[in-house]
């Protein structure tokens, strides 16, 4: 029972980070029909930019409050990633707007390699320790179930960011223009919407969320390196598909569900396979889920209408 509760806690934490990243995939897919496979690398760039900022801050202002340092690191990582998202769209994907679907997809994969290599050149191939600025001392709200303040912070911040995004998309004039553009670029332009600007903005917002997610991953695991974005990127993509790609609520739900399945699965995989596989094989779950969803419910949990954009 304690194992289960513990894994549910872990699953919620990882799941809310997946959800943040999945939103970036699903927003871009919703508006362009493009799977931006380089999105995971934006997570990585966010984490490493934050790390770099922290290292500089620790050098110039060692006495600064840890939380303030972390906040500054996030506030540097976000605009850096947003500019990166903007440039990706402007320099690569926009030129391929009318091209056959395979061209932007391959470009996205190329972009992913490019960013990883770039990060490797800047930050090297080594794993870097990410400073633990929020306490990782575990608390025990229920005996036997451990929760760290970092984990609590991750869940709260994700929830706030997602609530903000939902408000933006459903309640504002800009959000309405985003939804209109996602449904029909041409008619949105006929309403006076600068659709190119809306598409660029979608990339920028997604990249901003990815930056936050990157700092969360690095804080949670205490590690950052040039290839750290790849696996979370794939999993977040799985989460987006699981929830129904193109659907914001679906991305959030998919992220949480995936995090839970993965964590609970990791807790029991050893028992389930009679000791043959241990918890380091937990990645199996995400991709088994992806397979099952694609076979039995390709539209995802909340998705509809995939056919009209495929």
């Amino acid at each position: 029972m304690e194992t289960l509760l513990q894994q549910i806690v872990n699953g919620l934490v990882v799941g809310s980070v997946y959800a943040l990243v999945a939103l970036g995939y699903t927003m871009v897919y919703g508006i362009l029909g493009l799977i931006n496979f380089a999105h995971g690398e934006v997570v990585m760039i966010g984490a490493l930019t934050a790390l770099q900022t922290l290292l500089i801050l620790m050098g110039v202002a060692p006495d600064m409050a840890p939380l303030l340092k972390l906040a500054i690191a996030v506030l540097v990582a976000m605009p850096v990633c947003m500019i990166l998202g903007f440039l990706m769209e402007r320099l690569a994907y926009r030129r391929l707007r009318g091209a056959p679907r395979l061209a932007p997809l391959i470009t996205a994969i190329g972009m992913s390699f490019l960013l990883q290599t770039l990060a490797m050149i800047i930050w090297g191939r080594n794993y870097h320790t990410f400073p633990q600025l929020i306490s990782t001392a575990p608390m025990q709200p229920i005996p036997g179930v451990f929760v760290t303040p970092v984990q609590v912070a991750i869940v709260i911040v994700s929830a706030l960011v997602m609530a903000g995004l939902i408000l933006l998309v459903t309640k504002t004039r800009l959000g309405r223009a985003m939804r209109a553009t996602a449904e029909n670029h041409r008619v949105a332009a006929l309403m006076g919407v600068d659709t190119n600007a809306i598409i660029a903005l979608t990339f920028v917002i997604g990249a901003g969320l990815a930056a936050v997610a990157g700092v969360m991953f690095a804080s949670n695991y205490g590690i950052a390196h040039y290839a750290m974005g790849f696996m979370p990127g794939l999993k977040a993509f799985t989460a987006a598909v699981l929830g129904g790609i193109g659907n914001l609520g679906g991305a959030m739900l998919g992220g949480i569900v995936l995090g839970l399945v993965e964590a609970v699965g990791a807790g029991y995989i050893e028992t389930m396979t009679f000791g043959f596989l241990n918890s380091s094989y937990q990645d199996i779950f995400a991709f088994v889920i992806l397979g099952i969803v694609l076979i039995f419910r390709p539209t995802g949990l909340l998705g509809e209408r995939v056919s009209d954009r495929a």
Binding site: R173, A177, A180, E183, A189, L190, M191, G192, V193, D194
Partner: protein, 242 residues
């Protein structure tokens, strides 16, 4: 031929449009004067919709010029043309099916910032189209064809157009609904909005419009007042089923 001696609001000069390897419009010149309602009739595939799309900017022209209010707008993107006052109600209505009816209408006012004015104009649209008002919170994809057409027209009006382009507003609709829609179009015209109407229903279009152009295989072949065209034996034979 035209009564207004002033310079035209819209002037197409020998525009040619090709897409998908087909020359859809092969040199069209026409002009519209302020306050006029002009129709463009012709068979399916004559290039009528293509012409409207070129005026609204969703299609580019290969050659020729489009002058609006004295300005060459041939290279202007669609969203800027709307700000200049050119609104298109596209063929097939172009409703945002996943947005609510109210959100669709508010998209029409996207370029405006005058909150009070927008609310007043929304009310005006509701009085003109009472059936729309009952369905504001409904997702627009669930509306009937006629209701969608009304939303599409109401939405275009919310941008306060000077030139309204209507592409087949009667398509697929029951006669009673068509009548209602043309009443609204007439009201809009009476308020001084210039209208270019594309219709396959030539009889209806020529009855409402002051002037008309007949389009065949990418070219304008005839022009005249609505009455003249209605009486023209060629038009009667080709488009009025006689």
């Amino acid at each position: 031929m035209h009564t207004n001696p002033a310079s035209p609001l819209l002037q197409l000069d020998d525009i040619k449009i090709a897409y998908g390897g087909i020359q859809a419009v092969k040199g069209v010149s026409l002009e519209l004067y302020k306050g006029e309602m002009v129709c463009l009739i012709g068979a399916n595939g004559a290039g009528k919709t293509t012409t409207l799309n070129a005026i609204s900017g969703t299609l580019g022209v290969a050659s020729g010029s489009i002058t609006y209010d004295g300005e060459d707008i041939g290279a202007m993107p669609t969203h800027k043309r709307l700000r200049k006052g050119i609104a298109l109600v596209p063929e097939g209505r172009g409703i945002f099916t996943r947005l609510t009816v109210e959100e669709n209408l508010r998209m029409g006012a996207y370029i405006r910032n005058d909150t009070a004015g927008i609310e007043a104009d929304l009310e005006r649209v509701y009085t003109m189209l009472p059936r729309v008002k009952e369905r504001l919170a409904q997702v627009a994809g669930t509306l009937s064809g006629g209701e969608q057409q009304m939303v599409a027209i109401g939405r275009a009006l919310l941008s306060q157009p000077k030139l309204l382009l209507l592409d087949e507003p009667s398509m697929g609709l029951a006669p009673l609904v068509v009548e209602k829609i043309f009443e609204v179009v007439q009201t809009v015209k009476d308020e001084g909005v210039t209208i270019l109407l594309v219709e396959q229903n030539a009889n209806l279009a020529l009855e409402f419009a002051q002037r008309g152009y007949v389009m065949e295989s990418g070219k304008l072949t005839l022009t005249g007042t609505g009455k003249e065209l209605l009486a023209d034996p060629k038009v009667r034979a080709a488009y009025l089923g006689e």
